[in-house]
């Protein structure tokens, strides 16, 4: 069954916003205008877009080092995100966090964590809160294939399982943790064998197909809202850039493999599909693209206009009031 047109256009717009945002960030990192470690989400847009489309602001997400896409899809303010990445005062974390630690609690985005696997236990707490409140809200945690080898991952699955938490585990399997292949690092082979062992409902989807992600996530999140316990979704995808954006780090992945995945671009293939189906007329597609580009240009203008924090601001927020 075909998704309604509004959903289709919405999924596309979210993916494109992430893509344009990340293209801007990559350019600015390579030009030396953005400092620090920025992990690009380019190539994985369909995962965040397809999952978050089902969430309301009352639902919570927990993200990882590769978190810009999750933030955008959850509805974080792109102006304040952009300002944060530049270390500006009006950034969502007042310049304290930067690219790796974006959070927007106002939209239920509980923060990106730079420690591999560390978001998983935190997400169990967010899910327990949702369960205790009893309002059918849910939590979602995004993590990579590499995180599945940390103890915290296994402990979190077990905890979510025994407490029947309304928690969706979204594993973005991009095949590698830095340069280490998942096929080497994971004894289980198929990742879903692990949630299976913990008796957690699970599925694997083509993570570059936004509608496949959308449908699988929708079914899982409905289960969560019905109180049937946690679900696990493996999304097979690929990152286009080096582990973090830098000219100085090695990419040991096969060149042909990278090229093949770029052919399967989640954003471009979906645009083609929408045109073919007639969901969007070419003119409508163009105006949507222009709208998204303007949003990113405006975000940059906002970030550029924002001052740096004062040095002494370093002392603020160590404790809350």
């Amino acid at each position: 069954m075909e998704l309604d047109k509004k959903t289709q256009a919405g999924l596309y717009e979210t993916m494109l916003t992430i893509r344009r945002f990340e293209e801007h960030v990559a350019r600015e990192v390579f030009d030396g205008h953005i400092v620090g470690f920025a992990h690009s989400y380019i190539g994985q847009e369909a995962v965040a877009a397809g999952v978050c489309r089902h969430l309301t602001v009352k639902d919570k997400i927990v993200s990882n080092h590769r978190g810009h896409g999750h933030c955008i899809a959850k509805g974080a303010d792109v102006n304040r995100m952009m300002a944060e990445i530049y270390g500006k005062k009006d950034g969502c974390c007042k310049g304290k966090g930067g690219s790796m630690h974006i959070a927007d609690f106002g939209v239920g985005m509980l923060g990106a964590d730079g420690i591999v696997g560390a978001g998983l236990p935190i997400s169990t707490g967010a899910a327990l809160a949702a369960k205790l409140e009893g309002k059918k809200n849910v939590a979602v945690v995004f993590f990579g294939d590499g995180a599945c080898n940390e103890g915290e991952f296994h402990e979190s699955l077990n905890l979510a399982g025994i407490w029947k938490l309304p928690l969706l585990f979204v594993c973005e399997n991009n095949g590698y943790g830095v340069n280490t292949p998942a096929s080497y690092a994971m004894a289980a082979g198929d990742i879903t064998r692990i949630p299976e062992a913990y008796h957690i409902a699970n599925a694997t989807v083509e993570g570059n197909d936004v509608e496949a992600v959308y449908e699988a996530a929708g079914a899982a999140i409905e289960r969560l809202r019905r109180g049937e316990g946690p679900c696990f979704l493996e999304c097979k995808t690929y990152r286009w850039h080096t582990h973090f954006l830098s000219k100085d780090i090695e990419d040991l992945r096969p060149k042909g493999e990278i090229a093949a995945w770029k052919e399967r671009c989640p954003v471009a293939t979906y645009a083609d599909k929408l045109l073919r189906r007639g969901t969007l007329a070419p003119a409508r597609l163009q105006s949507l693209q222009a709208k998204v580009q303007k949003k990113i240009d405006d975000a940059f203008a906002f970030a550029a206009a924002s001052p740096y924090p004062k040095p002494e601001d370093a002392l603020a927020d160590v404790y809350s009031a």
Binding site: F37, I115, N149, E150, G177, V178, T180, A185, Y308
Partner: protein, 317 residues
Amino acid sequence: MREITYDQAAGEAIRETFRSNPRTVYVGTDPVLDMQKEFGEDRVRVTPIAENSFVGAAIGLAGSGYRTVVNLRMATFGFVAMDQMINHAAKITYMFGGQARFPVLIRMTVGAGFFGAAEHSISPYAMFMNAPGLKLLLPSTPYDVKGLLKTALAENNPVISFEPFLLGKAKGEVPEEDYSVPFGHAAVRRKGSDLTVVALGRMVPEALAAADDLAKGGVSAEVIDPRTLVPLDTAAILRSVRKTGRLVVVDEACQTCGAAAEILARVASDKATFGKLKSAPARVCGLDVPIPFSPPMEKFAVPDKSKILKAAKGVLR
């Protein structure tokens, strides 16, 4: 003499040891292709991202007769392995009555100054100073990192090497011939008579730059680099302070309960040295905050030459 980088020098220490001792194993999350090629994938092992487990595996290997090198990369990832390092590596020799030896070398980078934000920017060696049973290195030059790692790789105890991230690409003279640097021997980086500056890790070059500036104003500063925190060469520090009567301790880590606090305490509690002090000693440390991302705030939070100069002037007044 040839010049190589800090990271290259560290790599040489490990490779030379692996050549001479076949009962050596390396573990870390990143493939080290040249080492894998030379020593084989049995001995140079890529691990999943599972720090607590691979540090534990290293301890088990060590207790079973294999000298083991662990690369944790950044101290921040090391926190995931705190259980194995503190509950086990530090205590295992003692707790089991010295029955076995645990020759494990654990390396991790420390420090701030590269816009890594709060999680990735930290210098936690003082936490480990509080866990007896570990020997702790804080090399500040390519020569020292190679020499200290050579000693570590002949040592029969768990050793942690804290290597300032920003020094990795720094170049320095390293001899071709074999040498080692003993633990517990501070280096006097610059001789002086008016003021002692004890500087740790990445603060050593900052302190030397400050000493150059002080010299232009007619002040002669002695710069001491302890090189190892456990064992700490207290005698060298006391000797210098007795001579100069003035002390500034510089450390990039947070001030509270840091290595600098320990050094000041050792000076203050040594009667002969305390009596020679001409002014109250000072600390120049990281502020007691997590390291913020934004460059102006980060710069404010970590020590540098100008902050050392300011403290030196205060102590000299």
